[in-house]
């Protein structure tokens, strides 16, 4: 149970707040609101900047990864070697592009759609802790007591933007896309929320910071490995999250082979780019939730600091005097961000590898498979916690973590020891399936 007094303590003793108190020359225990306000402003600025920048980075990454998977290069020109400024160039182009509103469109709904999608996806980050107490909400060790619930609720407002865009455009393609998206989002919310319930039951808290703090130490403390139900729940959650972000193979709302561009057929310029910023921000947000709930949060999985004989909590190790700025927390935040990037990369990888499903297949996967599976997982984990755990003890996680580690090592060894050549002459790929020599193209 969280008390307002604790929250008040947190905000008054937050790291950034202390930094500004020190900067303004105020005593440690001063109750002036300015340090808190300035700290809030900086925290919010950093967060919005980070989310926007990571969206820009992911758009570039997606095009590069798609290029590699499809045996082409992707962007190469803008900004030097890897075309890393391509997204900025595209952004400037979109900014100066004519903003069309079709004649049949409902003008208010048409304008409102992108804003709602954008705000819905970006506001999820309020409750996403990057390290111990590093949330926009409560710059101190503050905790968002219902963080998971808040993120799920806010993320699902994104669908309103999509439906409004689809309905308000006055185009048939858009309407089809919007209706599909509505059905899909309403459907996949349920198994996703049920899978989120699994770690919530294990931790006994909806506070993302607390759930993640419970997973400190070695990697077998992570909730993925805790019992068989959490292990399956992670994969089910990630599938549903991919669908809830309307990413391929579930991107029926914008299926370009059937619906031109789905709900954003009629959009151009900056309004169009708002949908994409929302999509990439949502990808990062759901990956962040997956990391916090199942993947150990901001913990590395190797208790380096304990091994070298320091305090187990990294945040307490590298602490400047008077708690001004916490470098340990910054390292933890870096670990968290890298983990999220890995999951976002997996989403991109899946998008360019798997073919798109049909709309009935998408809906039936949800209703007939994911919903019963996630219900079973939720029931199973609650029964496991009550009945199996007192008898089995805490040892199951070692078995599961060991098996996963061994399978990862075997897969990695097989992948890296198999020689391979891509069909394109002259490009050697480091790993992948072996292609027989008669199928490769000879350089003439």
């Amino acid at each position: 149970m969280i008390r307002q007094e604790d929250l008040r303590e947190d905000i008054l003793n937050g790291e950034l707040t202390n930094l500004f108190r020190w900067f303004l020359g105020l005593p440690e225990d001063s109750l002036s609101p300015f340090p808190g306000l300035m700290a809030a402003g900086v925290a919010v600025g950093m967060l919005v900047g980070f989310v926007a920048l990571s969206a820009v980075f992911f758009i570039w990454l997606e095009r590069k990864v798609a290029g590699r998977i499809q045996d082409r290069l992707g962007p190469t020109r803008v900004g030097g070697k890897f075309g890393w400024l391509q997204t900025i160039a595209d952004g400037i182009k979109l900014l100066v592009k004519e903003d069309l509103i079709p004649r049949d469109a409902d003008h208010i709904l048409f304008r409102l759609g992108p804003y709602i999608a954008f705000c819905g996806a970006f506001c999820a980050f309020i409750a996403l802790p990057f390290a111990q107490g590093w949330t926009a909400y409560g710059t101190g060790t503050g905790a968002f007591a219902i963080g998971v619930f808040f993120i799920l609720a806010v993320m699902s407002t994104e669908v309103f933007g999509i439906i409004l865009a689809g309905y308000g455009s006055g185009s048939k393609w858009s309407l089809f896309g919007g209706m599909r998206e509505a059905a899909q989002m309403v459907g996949y919310e349920i198994p996703m929320s049920l899978c989120v319930l699994v770690p919530v039951i294990v931790a006994g808290s909806m506070d993302l910071g607390k759930i993640s703090a419970n997973q400190a130490g070695w990697f077998w403390e992570w909730y993925v490995f805790r019992d068989p139900f959490t292990f399956v729940a992670f994969w089910t959650y990630f599938t549903c999250a991919t669908a809830a972000c309307k990413r391929a193979p579930f991107d029926l709302a914008e299926a370009e082979s059937e619906l031109v561009a789905g709900f954003h057929t009629e959009y151009s310029g900056l309004r169009w780019s708002f949908f994409f910023m929302a999509e990439y921000a949502a990808m990062f947000a759901v990956s962040g939730v997956a990391v916090l709930l199942f993947g150990g949060g901001w913990h590395l999985g190797l208790p380096v600091w304990t091994l070298v004989g320091l305090s187990p909590e990294l945040s307490q190790v590298l602490n400047w005097p008077s708690n001004v700025l916490n470098i340990g927390n910054a390292i933890n935040a870096g670990v968290f961000i890298v983990k999220c990037w890995v999951l976002v990369f997996v989403q991109i990888w899946v998008r360019w590898t798997l073919p798109r499903l049909r709309i009935d297949q998408v809906m039936m996967t949800c209703i007939k498979y994911l919903l019963p599976i996630s219900c079973f997982l939720m029931l199973g984990v609650s029964l496991w916690e009550v009945f199996a755990r007192p008898y089995l003890g805490d040892y199951f996680k070692f078995v599961l973590a060991g098996l996963v580690l061994i399978s990862i090592i075997i897969t990695a060894m097989r992948v890296f020891t198999t020689p391979m050549k891509l069909p394109t002459p002259g490009i050697d790929a480091p790993w992948g399936p072996r292609i027989p020599a008669e199928f490769t193209i000879k350089r003439s």
Partner: protein
């Protein structure tokens, strides 16, 4: 329990920044971007054809059926969240004497939902016709 507004400053500020960005960016685009309206440009896109009829037509009822079915599960989930958060913790909102009762009540509640789900499946609600 005193209410301290300062805890919510970051949330307010975040909302202001996000909504401000969402308003300012299209405003900039409106000032910079060219604007030359022609009738053909304003036509809804229908793969190069002139649009036939209104886009706001009757829509297939199966989408609504599925939406209604899922609303039931959504409400069920709302009940499950507070229970899930207080199920295992010691010293939680549920008194320890009632813990077993609440646990089995939730299982019974889920059983009723499962029965409804099986009924809907047998009735053919999940057939995509």
């Amino acid at each position: 329990m005193d209410f301290f507004l300062g805890t919510y400053y970051p949330v307010f500020m975040y909302l202001v920044v996000v909504i401000g960005f969402a308003i300012a960016a299209p405003l900039t685009a409106h000032l910079i971007a060219p604007r030359k309206v022609t009738p053909v440009k304003q036509m809804p896109y229908e793969s190069g054809m002139d649009p036939i009829g209104d886009a706001r037509m009757k829509f297939d009822v199966k989408f609504y059926l599925i939406a209604i079915l899922f609303l039931v599960f959504d409400v069920e989930l709302l009940f499950l969240y507070p229970w899930a958060a207080t199920n295992q913790t010691t010293g939680s909102l549920i008194p320890s004497a009632f813990k077993d009762v609440v646990f089995w009540e939730i299982q019974a509640f889920l059983l009723t939902v499962v029965v409804a789900y099986i009924y809907a499946w047998r009735k053919g609600v999940f057939k995509w016709r």
